[in-house]
Symmetry: D2
Subunit: 358 residues, 4 copies
């Protein structure tokens, strides 16, 4: 069951890095939505390796093929199956990892849990798995667009370089103009420089992706275990390399008292609104109509192009040096994945909220 | 479905603050586990209000009554129903909130989502709901104990006062010796002073609870959406007032590179282990046998004993001042709740892992 | 998870025959529904033992106590917890069954599966478990009533005595006028006589309950595994002693060809309808607006008031004679249970169908 | 969610009759099982059209392509994605059905439920969907084989021609020797003649498939809503054209009393067994180690090669005559589908039963 995500709008994914294909099934797509396949491909292209000098040099075409659930360009309410063929895989790059556990990767835990593993390219634990999420997220966005919901994610911090939390100051148009996907051009340049520097050492770096949702209706989120931020948090933490999640004021607000964090209500021309938004658009686990904003922490990529001590499957100590083409920083390519998980979560909870009343 | 938590070991909870009772059903408790009811009650007592000068003065006896699933002091494999009667509720304290939305509470969102709400004591959004979690967690602990799994949570930070992340330095025996549940006595005293200070102003303060799991078997966690940290994160974020989650190095490790964060494997007398544990005991979403550690951020309690601007259900602007007995800081009483959610998650994933093989 | 039923409208039940109470939690009850508690009790009274000379002489008051989810007589959208205390249990009647497996009961299978069991009154496998279903069904009926959906079940056959399938000929008002709950008075008398005859021998008899649903909207049922009849069939087969399920023409139509079974469409004053209803109101797994009708087969009660060969938990062959107060025929009291399961299924699928579109 | 089946071993399917492909994802396949792809293909070949003069003349190669979850011929514990391309589809055969509702098909209900439908070949409601079930069932069989569980289904009855319930008299080797898949050669010949006769009129006929499971361990089935027969019944009723399900004695035992239906226990050389098996191998919803047997009723195929009255989507009355290549009787090809659903259900419940204990 763990390869499925969602309650009503539910994606099930499959696929290893060096297998025949990755793909998935989306069940619960509302019927009658126009499916703009070009938009889906465009979202995939944002995730694709080889986009810029900052990302891995691997070329992956990553063309999505839809197999069902769409008729005359509209969703039919039936499950949407899709595949993306794996191409240009250099499986031999991984020959030396067949019996060796790469540090801070999933090799050891998969091997111990299952008793065997597909070692090529990380197998199921590879970030190629997120291709299916982006496809699902793109379809969810097509539905959410009709509801007026907009989702924007961006790189907020790389290492020590941060644009800060105050997203109202940013021009979101800037995000796609630079390869870091940072909304502040100068900071983007700094970040790019930092990434290039760690890459040159065979090293890697992490950071934070922020996400802002505008136009979310009031009432999404199902107490008590289905609180909207718990669903979003679980979704984000399921992305490869994610190590933390916070919403609203977050960890940096830890010194603020209740008086400073409470969001006072007022009547905004007939609409109940809050004067501040420390709550990040969610109160009691339910969206309150204000912007939803949250942040996701990503660790540095574990694959280093330098020698590391490790052990093999027989327990022998050995030295490993990765070959191949790898990202020095996962952030730029993770931006569309964060958006995709947010989109699927919000559409799912929107559909759930329809069942709150007869 | 949102009042259920877990896949195999699954708790379903019910109950409002000022209704007849809170309670729940635990489905999937393994058969044959000795049920030490005194231990369950003891865990509940750790959550109970009125324990110390730092918590609310409300007296809630909170006696659990088990109704099924236990026969001759052992679990039978059948669902365990239980209730805790609500007593000593002062519903009239809430009369003035019937039509008024308390800032940063769930009043407005519940009212808008459902069209009506039980306003007394926060209704379903009250922290009394967590009583059921503590009962479920206590039962899960009884099972985990047989597996050698130990779970310890404590208050790590209140406002700006922190003991730091290095839990190896702490004496866990200290935790239950002070009312803050902090493992460092001097820091506990500082925290207590801080809490008393905000209380005296009718104000509130938040902080961080850390949790350490020792003895967790390798192999818990179900990729890809059921990664162990995603499950733990979703669980923790479902607790009232939680606003953030991080595991392993967390946000404070953001400046560390891959070389600094990677955990090198070595052969520790025949057992594969890591020399460091920046991963927090989880790699690729699966436990690796090292200590699991994570942190949960809690915001300041939203109920202030001071005047606040707000609006009522008709949209009229008004001023609210809470009456009643409230916590100035949720941390001390949230410690057993964090442990409970961790215990239920780990037992659930342990049982799931049994299905990985024939 | 197996003590929960339903997707959106979901009941979770607990309780053994001779434990403290049976009860449950209903999650997903739509908000704002008027809760007529007297109606719920009335439904329970239809299930209660001791109603007539035909049923067991046990007196069970079976008063339901609601604990949450209802505020000022309306559902709040929060989970509805409830309990029914067990009273008047004669546990000593079962002392001789502690170590003995009653033939065709669940004693042997529970003991082997779980390694222990509560032997008193059948424990969890007792039909007292269906009390919770009737409570859930009554709440579902209150919601369905607003949609114009009516559900009527009745005893169609006892042993060889049958009223036949043609329900249009029956006066449904007759059902509650006789203790067999059969819509044809003369047949009811015959059935009552048959039941009395088998009872006098310490023997038991089975039969068929039919159920008719009128006013069901078109579009309920979720292909492919959630076909409406599959959901109804699974629901009915989960009732104690159920051994078969058929809908529409059923087994007795096995000799009819396609030409004879097909339901031709016509335009009935602007509404598309079928001239016949061999399909039983469901086509392709989805309700088509015609009456839904199905039948459930119940086996004879396994508890006989006569000596039977058996073995004990140690494998010794022995002779058992049940004591106590038992039903000679489960049908009359199972009628409200069939209705309850139908009501919960239909409400659940109605709510699911709301998510088919944005 | 309705395109998924199972709890732990869970299949999710997709695909329309005339779309690009049908396929699915199997999540929860235990790790380390040898995957004999030739066996899977062989199972698919049993379901394939065009096998004999009795089935449709459509030629469908139905070659399965596995895309993930298998490494060096063993299951890895990761999801197994697969597709079967649609070929040789004559979509133009369906042009005249675009706006017309075929009687007793899913056209009208899909159109009304979703607001649109893929009309070609029945779209999602086509029996081609069962291809994915057969693939899933074949994988489940590979796992069950290791547990010593054998599943055999066969055609028991076509129209009025039946071999009776007493499966001990049959030679199961005969089943695959005749095109009807009936274990009694003379009866098979009669059935074949009957099918040929209805086909020559453009008519169709239904019947019953029986299924016998040998070697099932004691303890499968999860009370109360997850009773094994309820799971099997729901599974079988989800197959296209299924209209009834019974297990053990079934409807034909309706006149038997409790004394006649009870299965007396005895000690069979140290193993507790029953002298008779009216219970069909399931007691209290849990397998008891005896043979499981059940029967599934299938209605006549709804597609007739003769003129039928109907209406179109605009409500106009019209006359329809199907073109194309259709089965006159679904039974022979449904035999492997019944086995597949049984296999997936049993493996799922076997895995669930592993979680009953620590």
């Amino acid at each position: 069951m763990s390869n499925s995500f969602g309650n009503i709008f539910r994606i099930t994914t499959f696929g290893e890095s060096h297998g025949a294909a990755v793909g998935g099934v989306i069940d619960g797509m509302p019927a009658g939505i126009e499916i703009d396949e070009a938009f889906v491909q465009q979202e995939l292209d944002r995730r694709r390796p080889g986009q810029s000098a900052l990302t891995t040099a691997r070329k992956e075409g990553d063309r999505v093929e839809f197999l069902s659930g769409i008729f005359e360009e509209r969703s039919t309410g039936c499950p949407i199956g899709f595949i993306v063929r794996n191409e240009n895989q250099h499986s031999s790059d991984y020959d030396n990892m067949r019996d060796v556990f790469r540090p801070s990767h999933a090799d050891y835990t998969y091997q111990t849990k299952y008793g065997l593993r597909d070692h090529r390219g990380g197998g199921r634990s590879s970030a190629r798995e997120t291709i299916s999420r982006v496809v699902g997220g793109a379809l969810a966005k097509l539905a959410l667009r009709q509801l007026g919901v907009q989702i924007v994610a961006y790189t907020e911090q790389v290492g020590a370089i941060s644009v800060g939390h105050d997203y109202d100051l940013f021009d979101f148009e800037e995000i796609e103009r630079n390869p870091v996907r940072c909304p502040v051009a100068e900071k983007a340049a700094e970040m790019a420089k930092k990434i290039a520097a760690v890459r040159s050492e065979g090293n890697t770096i992490g950071g934070v992706i922020a996400c802002v949702v505008k136009g979310c209706p009031v009432g999404l989120g199902e107490p008590v275990f289905g609180k909207l931020h718990a669903a979003l948090g679980g979704a984000m933490l399921s992305i490869n390399a994610a190590k933390g999640f916070e919403y609203g004021e977050g960890f940096s607000g830890i010194e603020m008292t209740g008086r400073e964090q409470n969001d006072v209500f007022y009547n905004n021309d007939g609409v109940i609104a809050t004067r501040t938004n420390h709550s990040g658009g969610i109160q009691g686990g339910i969206s309150n109509g204000q912007d939803i904003y949250f942040r996701v922490l990503f660790k540095p990529v574990a694959t280093l192009l330098m020698e590391q001590q490790t052990v093999d499957v027989f327990g022998n100590e050995t030295v490993l040096k990765a070959r191949g083409r790898h990202d020095p920083c996962v952030l730029p390519r993770a931006v569309p994945i964060v958006e995709a998980m947010a989109a699927m979560t919000l559409l799912d909870y929107y559909l759930l909220s329809k069942t709150n009343h007869l």
